[in-house]
Amino acid sequence: MNQLKKILLIILFLGLFLVLDLLISPRMNPYYLQILIYCGINIILAVSLNLINGFTGQFSIGHAGFMAIGGYTSAAFTFYLGPKILETLFLPLWFSKPLVFVAGLLLGGTLAAFAGLLVGIPSLRLRGDYLAIVTLGFGEIIRVFILNIDAIGGARGFSDVPKYTSLFWVLGFTVLTIVVVRNLVYSTHGRAFLSVREDEVAAEAMGINTTWYKVTAFVIGAFFAGIAGGLLGHYLQYLHTNSFTFIKSFEVVMMVVLGGMGSITGSILAAVILTLLPEVLRPVKDYRMVFYSILLVILMITRPQGIFGVREFNWDWLKKIFSRKKAQAEGA
């Protein structure tokens, strides 16, 4: 019964996204649609990085590198192999195109996850700032290598990527990321991730395989970053290594820290805020990025634990207010 309910819920949500996509996308201002899609992609990035940085307590600033791997791999797949597969598969296009797209995304995610494994291994020896700088270095090395592969555009950028990403896919993968990370964190394994963050030595003494959990966090985080990269590439139809510099990684780290390390809802909110902020500040033109950075510094000084800290957003406070009012009414 429970299983059936879950499946129904998934179908319901997918249907809702599809309806939303079909109804809203054509009528919406393309600019707003783009912002919406960026919000979704950034939520995927922030939530997946939160698993590494927030819940497991490792400090990675190489997320853009994983994103680049995922983006380029999936784009290469749909660009080079996609047409051939579409030709050989005797299926209607509306069915086979998404199939190719999802296959590309998963391939990109898997390769990114493999890179996550490679980056996760030094994390066994390094901590804190050193790990941060190594992940940053890995991200840059990945970027430079992509820059030197001519088949995927090199310095010219990878253009003519098929446009497969739509609101439906972005919403679907955003929800998938949130659900996977949430369920993982609230499972037995999730407690193990948290224990690595709180005190590695104590966790090890309690019989937790800290190595395994650290690497797992990197692999899962990198997988979703790769998916996000694939979504971005198939939305813009163009990829350039300049979009995957460490500045992009910083942006994602900012989202995680601003939202609160170890708060999924916090990451979501911060991803939305930090995506919208530069757009909202557009009227002030040249001062835009200056305001953005000043706001960031002020926020960090006034609320260093992030918006939510380690808590999650919920409706309890509303219930509390209501129950208090009820109690007061009854008391009177």
């Binding site: 890995f138 430079v144 990025m289 950075s293």
Partner: protein, 300 residues
């Protein structure tokens, strides 16, 4: 062979500049355990301070050595003021919060300086005036050394020597070492840690300012985001040599500089930015404390 030596010379010139920037990272990391990402932009401001003061002094028309030294001093003073202001406004309120928060704030300050720089100085590159006329002082069997390269090397070595003397021979330097060893115990011993941190920022930023002018001399195109990559590589140099270690920063800077120029010369210029990080990853996996650093064991 000649080419190799020539590359080595170019590499050492770049390396000595990386080393100067690395010193600022190493010193701040030593006392605050903070990667001061804004440091690379202080170096950018140093280059621009040099640019404007050189024009203001009318040096661009008639270059002379005393004036060049004056420009360097002005830029060092401007940078050390900037460093102290950054420390007071952005990092001091965060002394008690987590290191990550401080790191994000540092990134924020760095973004602020870059974008503010684009606003104030203009986003287009500017050409640094020739403070000293470039000459070839050695040109034999295909190897060329210019006086500018020599100046960069000598100036950074001199500044480093002064710093080393300051840290190891003066009372303030001793206090600095005490703070970097253990900030709480140092303050119990009556050291004003806030004052020491301010001095650290002032000195580190002054060195970045000097590096900015030296880069302007050797590579006259300056722009508001010029600090981004050299800054990161300088940090890599600091880690490579062993963070908190002054000769280590020098050594790390030289290694990074030479490796980079060699990569450009013999491999491909596009790999230039990857080599520094490649070295870093290798060193951190095999010797996490850096070449000259002392490894510490964690106690439970």
């Amino acid at each position: 062979m000649q080419e190799l030596i020539q590359q080595l010379i170019n590499g050492i010139t770049w390396g000595s500049i990386y080393a100067l920037i690395a010193l600022g990272y190493t010193m701040v990391y030593g006392v605050l355990k903070l990667i001061n990402f804004a440091h690379s932009d202080v170096y950018m401001v140093g280059a621009f301070a040099g640019y404007y003061s050189a024009h203001w002094l009318g040096i661009a028309e008639n270059p002379s050595v005393p004036k060049a030294i004056l420009v360097m001093l002005i830029s060092m003073i401007v940078c050390s003021c900037l460093g102290v202001i950054i420390e007071r406004l952005a990092y001091k309120p965060l002394r008690k919060s987590s290191r990550l928060t401080a790191l994000i704030t540092a990134i924020g300050v760095s973004l602020l300086l870059e974008n503010g720089g684009q606003l104030v100085f203009g986003a287009d590159p500017k050409f640094f005036p020739q403070l000293i006329e470039g000459q070839e002082i050695w040109s034999k069997s295909g190897i060329v050394i210019s006086n500018l390269q020599l100046i960069a090397l000598i100036a950074s070595l001199t500044l480093m020597g002064i710093l080393q003397l300051f840290v190891y021979k003066t009372r303030t330097g001793k206090a600095m070492r005490a703070v970097s060893y253990n900030i709480q115990v140092a303050s119990l011993m009556g050291i004003s840690t806030d004052k020491i941190i301010t001095i650290t920022f002032a000195i580190g930023s002054a060195l970045a300012g000097a590096a900015g002018v030296l880069v302007g001399l050797n590579n006259p195109k300056i722009d508001p985001i010029m600090g981004l990559l050299p800054g990161l590589k300088a940090f890599v140099a600091a880690v490579l040599g062993g963070i908190g270690n002054i000769p280590g920063a020098m050594l790390g800077g030289l290694i990074i500089g030479v490796a980079e120029v060699m990569t450009v010369g013999y491999l491909s210029s596009t790999f230039r930015d990857a080599i520094a990080f490649g070295i870093l990853i290798a060193i951190l996996i095999f010797r996490p404390a850096g070449i000259l650093g002392k490894s510490t064991t964690e106690k439970v």
